[in-house]
């Protein structure tokens, strides 16, 4: 063999792969999943359509990786926020607020990742994505239950319900319109966080306190 992959080439290949994924992500953030078609993504990544297939076996695989990537980022953010909280209830509040802020700051992308119709089958990766996030929330609920802050309950079902509430009310088709206004955005985040905390059994008065504390650090994340 007179040709071997040199380190430089390996790096270039990895960079190109990332560029294609990034192009897909940007496209989805702008125009939703429907806009993520091979040809436009290829153009955006400065490659030919055929090149995309050197890196991803199919469009389904490309989108699956996109979903996985976004999901990873989301999960990391949730963990970071929750781990920084002083107690289990605060951690849960922080986790919920983080999800709310995240989906609001990238609404089209979130909608695409979560629910937008896609012409290829991405159900397994969407399922995995939901499972990860839901599992994390469930763990936080469980911690609060074990600490005696919440009544015993089916934490997995509760976590799923909370995420459904957040997504539907913030990025679903009935989501309020003017969420670009920072004040309205904060109100919406507070409102849904309050709903979520009460849903799992936090007393109204205590929930209101937790919400206020959770929203302060989360606001800083909006830019991230």
């Amino acid at each position: 063999m007179v040709y071997r992959r040199t380190h430089q080439v390996v790096k270039r290949l990895a960079a190109r792969r990332s560029a294609i994924l990034a192009a897909a992500r940007d496209t989805a953030a702008e125009g939703g999943m429907a806009a993520v078609q091979i040809a436009p993504v290829a153009v955006r990544a400065n490659v030919a359509a055929g090149t995309v297939y050197r890196y991803f076996p199919s469009k389904a695989e490309l989108i699956s990786e996109l979903i996985a990537e976004v999901s990873r980022d989301e999960l990391a953010a949730i963990r970071r926020a929750a781990d920084a909280a002083p107690g289990p209830s605060s951690a849960l509040a922080a986790a919920v607020t983080t999800v709310a802020v995240h989906v609001l700051s990238q609404r089209k992308l979130a909608w695409g990742i979560l629910a937008e119709p896609v012409d290829v089958d991405v159900s397994v990766s969407r399922l995995a994505s939901r499972r990860e996030i839901s599992g994390e929330i469930a763990a936080r609920i469980d911690a609060a239950v074990r600490a005696g802050h919440l009544p015993a309950q089916d934490t997995a079902l509760a976590a799923t319900a909370l995420l459904g509430a957040l997504h539907e009310s913030l990025v679903g088709p009935l989501a309020p319109e003017n969420l670009d206004d920072p004040a309205k955005l904060r109100d919406a985040v507070q409102t849904v966080t309050l709903l979520a905390l009460r849903a799992v059994g936090v007393m109204d008065a205590r929930a209101r306190g937790l919400v206020v504390q959770a929203v302060l650090p989360a606001k800083a994340l909006v830019g991230a």
Copy 2:
């Protein structure tokens, strides 16, 4: 003119139209929205593919009417259940339970109506459907707030969040598996109803009582 539509013909045309819609509904209930293709629906309705287009200008229109029809039924059931309740809080509990029971008893259809990817654009009719149901729930929350049973809140946002929670936890991809078992089904309905009531501010103890009362009549609706 030597031909005019006689009453008999008008009736036959209406019947055929209904048959096509019913075929579409059955198909969706069995195989989801993806299975609702013109050719299979036509076969099921005992007509040719072209005939479908004598009754519906496009597939999008057919599915839109399907969504509207299911939505109408759902709304009627919610109103019936809520109006039969003794007070505003019971009415809200009944409404929530009704939604839960309905989506569970026709999970594939519900998923198709609500969120399943469709190749044609049905966003407007889905939006209308959600608006109707959400509006009804919002009205019930509002009634409970005005009766002093709940704290003041953004009822529209709360209603949307509740529906999101119900749908995601009961028909979403993370919904529990063995909901065919009646006991498990009842547990799931009770759990999510409890979550929903607490979310809007019903005290835990009181919410548990409302749930029990609401689930009794709702169980009878499962067959409907």
